[in-house]
């Protein structure tokens, strides 16, 4: 393993990052209602354990690609919440200087090399980054996150096939939240466990409970170790659930009665918090203090971002070509 390991197996930190993501997403929703977020948003409340569990298993030298529902992974990777808010609000101080927006949070300084609004587009790019590392003789791996819907698009199959043939150090992480946009998975996909698709590409396919950060961490670690050892890719499916609709205009009326409530009963933050309290690692009172600290941090970051300057109109043609 690399000595540059900055992502902690400290579960108290996991809890803090999951709280950070939850508060961030709730804040985005609030800012949206206030008219401060242009366009649309794809929120990830309920899916925090996948981002935090998986990203806790890699090092700062590793790469990742994420999707338009990627705020959670970006925060788990350490993106500055103020720069993320500013980006989502289209400001010059945003992490992509307002050129990307909610769906494209990208931070090369953290190995977060792309966030894609085209379903499936991030998989080949992560594969390429993994191959770069391999060709350079580095031990870096790449994680690529995508949803269940992406397993029905060509790039999923093309990327898994190439990664297996080339024994690329990449881990494919499917967040199976049971709905491809508005459609329940069984209306678009003939299998329930998407990990089975790994079989066709001669790589391990693993399904874990995506509301359990410990399970996601353990499975990702195994996959990352395998990748680093030159043994090739893994497809890791994390069963999870998004509490919001697909995007801002979706009231999620397609859900079965009681479904949301049953998933909320297994809320990933609640689960980890209870485990930490039961195991005597962190008291409920300390968790509450942590929640308050994170909420204050998010409020302050959002407030500063909302006061940040817009890009200059005359700079419309910057960054199109290399300067």
């Amino acid at each position: 393993m690399s000595s540059q390991k900055i992502y902690s197996p400290d579960r108290r930190q996991w809890l803090r990052t999951m709280l950070l993501i939850r508060c961030f997403e709730d804040k985005v929703q609030q800012l949206f209602m206030q008219g401060l977020v242009p366009g649309t948003t794809h929120l990830c409340q309920g899916q925090e354990a996948v981002a935090v569990g998986a990203i806790s298993a890699i090092t700062s030298a590793d790469y990742l690609t994420i999707t338009y529902r990627g705020h959670g992974q970006a925060l788990a990777r350490g993106i500055d919440p103020e720069a993320a808010f500013a980006e989502i609000m289209g400001r010059e101080t945003g992490v992509c200087k307002g050129r990307g927006g909610s769906m494209h949070l990208t931070d090369f300084s953290r190995g977060l090399i792309g966030s894609f609004a085209i379903v499936g587009a991030g998989l080949p790019v992560a594969l390429g980054a993994a191959m770069s590392a391999k060709l350079h003789g580095a031990t870096s791996v790449a994680l690529t996150f995508f949803g269940d819907g992406a397993t029905n698009i060509g790039t999923f199959h093309e990327a898994l096939n190439m990664a297996s043939v080339w024994k690329a150090p990449v881990v494919f992480i499917c967040e199976n939240n049971l709905y491809g946009e508005y459609s329940p998975i069984r209306t678009t996909t003939p299998v329930d466990d998407l990990a089975i698709r790994a079989t066709a590409y001669a790589m391990p396919g693993v399904t874990v409970d995506g509301t359990d950060a410990d399970a996601v961490y353990a499975a990702t670690r195994t996959a990352v170790e395998r990748a680093r050892a030159g043994e090739g890719p893994t497809l890791l499916e994390c069963k999870t659930y998004r509490y919001s609709g697909h995007s801002r205009t979706d009231p999620a009326k397609y859900r079965k009665p009681g479904e949301l409530e049953s998933w909320k009963a297994r809320d990933p933050i609640k689960r980890l918090g209870e485990a930490l309290a039961t195991e005597g690692i962190m008291s409920v009172a300390d968790q509450e203090a942590m929640r308050q600290e994170v909420q204050d941090l998010i409020n302050a970051a959002a407030e500063r971002a909302a006061a940040a300057p817009w890009p200059k109109r005359e700079e419309i043609d910057r960054y199109v070509y290399a300067e």
Partner: protein, 342 residues
Amino acid sequence: MSTQSEREGATQGGVAEEMTYRQAIRAALADEMRADSRVILLGEDIAAAGGSFKTTEGLLDEFGPERVIDTPISENGFVGAALGMAVTGMRPVVEIMFADFLLSASDAIVNEVAKFRFMSGGQTVVPLTIRAIGGATGRFGTQHSATGESWFLQTPGLRVVAASSPSAAYELLRAAIRLNDPVIFLEHKGMYTQKGLVDRAGSLPQVGRAGIVRHGSDVTIAATLLMVPRALRAAEVLAAEGIDAEVIDLRWITPLDSETVGKSVSRTDRLVVVEEQVHHGGWGATLISLLAQQGLPRNTRPCAVSVPDVPLAFSPVLEDAAVPEAERIATMIRTLIHEQGR
């Protein structure tokens, strides 16, 4: 013209060798791979098989399987993978076996590659070259014969360049690989055996600069790829009739060098674009639009010799009827000169 003197200047760099268009492409790849270990090749059948058109023959032996990588038939996937390599320290050169297959990779090219730097707010550059082998005359039928030269005119963030001779192929491919922007590099499969002088020690051409390949005073012909030698042939025929044509090889389709063409037209008062593609929405129409906006001489009526609005056919008779030939170009110019007077 400055462009001409630059080209002449370039050939003063060393001893020019005669080589084919195919050899020039292979030489450019090999020379860039020798100069920079970050340059790697990806594509279908490019390693042991040496490429469907043998443009990478021998490179596997010299550079090994880590730098000359065979891909599955997955254009969208491997162009996306090449993007991932390009933003993490490599300088990949992808071969698209037939330019028609650029469309299989069009999501990666248009939505990812072209916009990657922009949507990251300038956090990265994308030094990626996509070589696409295009063009008719090979009797490959309608799905293997497109030049694809204008498909990406509506995609800011890309450069598109087209090689019309061995020296242009060598120089432009090296320039493309060295650019920090993504470049679609177009080769014409009907030109691989064409011979010409190539100076491997010359300076590299400037981005967006067209080349005047024949000076003349009566009419300006703007062309790309195979249409350049055909325009030159038409110019020879016309010269025997006392008509003196200037032929401009545009070289860069993005950005289009309307300045060089405009200066030429201001001397000749006549413009004919010759294109191996349908006219609508292509670079020819765009060039005429740009020139019209810049201000054309009062009596200039720009004309186009193009592929008619049909898919290319397999039958040699029909394929030849579609693709502009020297005689069609000459006929258009005679008509133009007759109509306007000398």
